[in-house]
Symmetry: C5
Amino acid sequence: MYLGRVIGKVWATVKNDSLRGQRLLIVQPLTPELAPAGKTVICADCSGAGAGETIYWCKGKEASFPFLPALVPSDNTVVGIVDLLHVKR
Amino acid sequence: MYLGRVIGKVWATVKNDSLRGQRLLIVQPLTPELAPAGKTVICADCSGAGAGETIYWCKGKEASFPFLPALVPSDNTVVGIVDLLHVKR
Amino acid sequence: MYLGRVIGKVWATVKNDSLRGQRLLIVQPLTPELAPAGKTVICADCSGAGAGETIYWCKGKEASFPFLPALVPSDNTVVGIVDLLHVKR
Amino acid sequence: MYLGRVIGKVWATVKNDSLRGQRLLIVQPLTPELAPAGKTVICADCSGAGAGETIYWCKGKEASFPFLPALVPSDNTVVGIVDLLHVKR
Amino acid sequence: MYLGRVIGKVWATVKNDSLRGQRLLIVQPLTPELAPAGKTVICADCSGAGAGETIYWCKGKEASFPFLPALVPSDNTVVGIVDLLHVKR
């Protein structure tokens, strides 16, 4: 999984039927020190995260597991909201 | 999912049978501010998007979900057309 | 999918049984303007493409779909030969 | 798989149900010479690794295999603790 | 698939059960001209390749096919040893 911050939303009327009703968040990846790191991605959401929150998201086929048995074509899904993190390099 | 703009099309006569009848779009990835970002990709389409439209596409195994039960060898599929997006960094 | 040009072949005697009889092509990724872009990959082939031809290939799990029901460990497969492409940036 | 070192942990109360009870480790990728190499990732753990240990982790769909039959949305999982490695370039 | 050379081995006592008995090789990716290209990866092996040999390996879900029906959490697997390659740019 990867750390990120929710920085925006996307609205789309024309879309694949299995994405109907899914919120689409714009996520900025972060370092463990919470600095921006790399290109933004669009994530489906299964955590209820809102603008400005620190979250972690999941890439790839596993990103569609939270929506099973529906086969949602999501390759990036927010799966949790971060309370606290501890790093010692 | 990733933001992009449709900038072209590909025609191919010789191809895997399961790709017959699929439109192939050339997509330029975009930042949330709609600036070009990175290398173009070729996407199958399930949204009806046309040249110049802002879309979002899906990578990986999930990119083949919109075509189920057919097992289409597509690793990048346009899954929606963007109406509006809001970003606050 | 991604644009590329066939620039070579690989011969291997010792290999996984499910790759027996598969042609292995060396492919140079291309931009839509057909300039080289990035590192070469080795692709299985299901299109019959030959040296110098412009093709598009598919990455990931989907790259094994053309060989079903055989479970071929191919993560990059040439799936079509390009006739024509049109780009307008 | 990839070499890395455990450098921290993440706590999250709100998360996908299938991640309940999983430890989440912050991992710094390493070269074979054990120098840091690239961006950190968050890994689920099935090895019991602790802070400072050298581990190897697995990316992608395969990262969810250790949790089967549960379909855990993990795209990065620590699968082993390194005892020794030998490199000759 | 990708070209590489075997440059080392990893030993690990504590690991996921499904990796028990698998050899773990450190692989340096190569260009078609056999120059080093990019970061090393750790690969499971199903070819019997030894130190110094030129091999090609497979990434992603497909990397676990050679071990079926066992669900081995391997995301990189050496699938063949290169005898000869021919490149013409």
